[in-house]
C-alpha cells in the first residue's frame, strides 16, 4: 500500500534515520560503468593514458602530477574524455596565492 502520504512519511523517516536510497546508488553505478562499456576502456587503461598525457605535457611545462586527472564524461549516447592537467607556475606556486593574513 502506498499513498502519497505514506511515501512522504517514509521519505521523512529515512531522512531522519540517515538512510540512503539504493536507487540513487544504482543510477550512479550505471553512469560510472557505461562509459567504459561503451568505449572498451577500463580504469587501468585510463591511468596509463593519464601518465602518457602527463609525460607529453611534461616535456613543455611543469605538471602538477598529483592533481592531474583524466575523466570519462557520459552524456546520453555520447561520451568524451576530459583531461585536467594542472601546471606548476614558474614561480613555484601550484595554487592561487594564499591571501589570508598570516
Amino acid at each position: 500500500m502506498t499513498s502519497p502520504w505514506s511515501a512522504a512519511l517514509q521519505l521523512t523517516v529515512d531522512k531522519v534515520l540517515g538512510r540512503k536510497h539504493s536507487a540513487t546508488n544504482a543510477k550512479s553505478r550505471i553512469r560510472a560503468l557505461l562509459p567504459y562499456d561503451r568505449t572498451d576502456l577500463n580504469p587501468t587503461i585510463m591511468e596509463k593514458m593519464k601518465d602518457e598525457i602527463v609525460a607529453v605535457i611534461g616535456k613543455y611545462a611543469a605538471v602538477d602530477v598529483d592533481r592531474a586527472a583524466v575523466k570519462m564524461v557520459l552524456d546520453h549516447h555520447s561520451q568524451s574524455l576530459t583531461a585536467e592537467i594542472p601546471l606548476r607556475t614558474v614561480t613555484g606556486r601550484t595554487k592561487r596565492p594564499d591571501t589570508s593574513p598570516a
Binding site: T2, A26, R31
Partner: protein, 267 residues
Amino acid sequence: MAAKVITVTSGKGGVGKTTTVANLAAALAAEGQRVVCIDLDIGLRNLDVVLGLENRIVYDLVHVVEGSCRLRQAMIKDKRVPELYLIPAAQTRDKSAVTPEDMVRVCNELRADFDFVFLDCPAGIEAGFRNALAPSDMVLVVTNPEVAAVRDADRIIGLVEAEQKGPAQLILNRVRYAMVERGEMLSTEDVLDILAIDLIGVVPEDPAVITAGNLGSPASLDKELLVGQAYRDIAARLLGRDVPFMSLKPKTWYQKLGTFLNGGDTK
C-alpha cells in the same frame, strides 16, 4: 499490406522478452491483426509454453530453414484469437542451424500475408541475436529497473545502432511502484535518462504474469488485469495510436471498495 517485423531483445536473460512477445502478439491478434511469432531461442524454447501451444508442435523453425517442411506446416495456430501463429524453436539443435539469411528469407515469405511478425530473441549478443536482428524493421529492447539489466540494455542499444536497425524503443518491465516511491528502485525517468531512447511501454511487476504462464494464456487477453492493460497499450502504440502512459499506482483500499460497491472489478 506488408508485415512489420519486430525484434524483441534485451542482452540479459530473464528480463521478460518471451513474456513481452506472447502478450503483444496476443493483444494484437485479439484486435484482429494477423500475427506470427517466431521463437529464436534454438535449444531452449519457451514461447510455446508461454502461449500454451507446446502440445501441438510437429515441425519447427529448423525444419523450415532446412526445407524438410513447408512454412505453413510449422505454424501452430492459436485458437483463442483469430489470427495468431507460432513457429517454435527446435529443441534438439544449436543456434548454428539457422543463419541471418535464413531469417530474412522466412520473414520475407511471411510479410505478404501478415501484419506483424515478432522475433523472440535469445539472451546474449551472439548468433541468435544476429538472426533476430537481420530481418528486423523495428527493435524493442526489454529491460528491468536493475543495474545489470540496464547495463546490458545499453550494450544492445549500441549494437542495434551499429547494425543500422535503430533507433530501438524501450519496454521497462517489472516495475514496482511502491519501491520506486521509496527510492529503492530505479524510476522510468532514471532509466530513460541513462539509456536515452524512446519509451514504448512500462509494465508493472505482477504475479498475474506467473499465473498466466501456468495457464499458458497471456495476461493481455485478460481484460481485468492492470498488467494486461500495460501490454494492450503497447500493442495500441504499435498500431500507431497515441495512448498515454498509464499510472502504475495500485488502487487504494477505499478506491477498491468504491469500485466493489459499484459492482466493478477490484484488481
